[in-house]
């Protein structure tokens, strides 16, 4: 995982949620093909947009967080602003479509 992407767990989730920045979360698993398609795009977005907090959540390790966001399909991308979910989408998406979720 790139330096710009934060590994989010239930231990640091509170801080992530309360960040002043817009938060982009990628719920994924290592064994999921579409997640691996999206992974490098998420890393690119993180590197190019330091004003956005980009985090990855491994659904195998963080089942409580996955359940809290009703994740039933991966990859699932969630955008948080001031602690609220403002956008959520399922499935692999092109970079531009992910960026437009942040607008």
């Amino acid at each position: 995982m790139s330096m710009s992407v934060l590994k989010v767990t239930k231990d640091n989730f509170f801080d992530v949620k309360n960040s002043d920045k817009t938060v982009l979360l990628d719920f994924y698993a290592d064994w999921c093909g579409p997640c691996r398609m999206v992974g490098p795009i998420i890393e690119e977005i993180a590197e190019e947009n330091p004003d956005i907090l980009v985090g990855k959540i491994n659904v195998d390790e963080e089942q409580e967080l996955a359940a809290a966001f009703s994740v039933m399909s991966i990859p699932t991308l969630v955008v948080l602003r001031n602690g609220e979910v403002v956008n959520k989408s399922m499935g692999a998406k092109p970079k531009a479509a992910i960026l437009s979720m942040l607008d």
Binding site: G33, R36, M37, I41, M72, S73, K93, P94, A96
Partner: protein
Amino acid sequence: MGADMEHIYDVAIIGGGPAGYTAALYSSRAGFDTVILEKMSVGGQMTLTDVIDNYPGFPQGIDGFVLSSDMQKGAERFGTKTMYDEVVSVDLKSEIKEIKTAFSGSVFSKTIIIATGANPRELGLENEQELLGRGVHYCAHCDGRFYKDKVVVVVGGGNSAVSDALYLSHLCKKVYLVHRRDVLRATKIYHDPIMKADNIEFCYNSVLGRIDTDNDKVSSVTMIDTKTSIKREVECDAVFISIGRKPVTEFLSGQLELDSGGYIVADESTKTNVDGVFAVGDVRTKVLRQVVTAVSDGAVAAHYAEEYLSR
């Protein structure tokens, strides 16, 4: 990288899967100015497979993701450019062909190789799209784990449906396999293990009529017997659809000849009905859709593109 109005490529390839990157490898290695337009990330359907056992040269099998990025690196070593953008439409009428992208304007090229592959085919039920990822799924290996100890329905009777049903049978309490014919289309190698799984119920001569929800989640499906028209409702938590693939050709808006299944008509030469336009890999009408036949198409298309360019 943005599009350049002044620039005219020799070869523009739409789709960065194995067919596309092999065409790119051959054409850039032959000295042609080559670009690949890829919508999302390289590899196409190949990246959705953990291990590819039937691509020769890898005795232990090869990870689809690794093979994809290696194919990309191989082509880029000879100067292929990869442009990440979605192709919205093409204009194939002129000598210099135009590819319109969603975000970076138009790309111009003397030849075009179409390598867009295929996506999962949908059932076409009314609420299918709306339930996507919330009880309706196309990737058992991705989403099966969310239905541990639950009841699921798999639709289809080919290799992928049967392998999905088998995979889900290890996780789920019960699996209904709904198939419209009276016999599975899957190859023999799958038959033994699936017949041994005691939590799979086979529903032959059946199609899915509707998917019902309760509290925004899938709660049941109604199957219809194709012979008797008798309906049967079964409770379930998810539906996994595995009824084959749909070639990606919408952006062509009728400029190339398609067969009845929607695949681009081109023989082993990969030449389409438009001069200088080639179709390779899963999007082309062909008998066997495999990585190995896709890469073969790529090499052939690059050969004929070269021939066309040196006229």
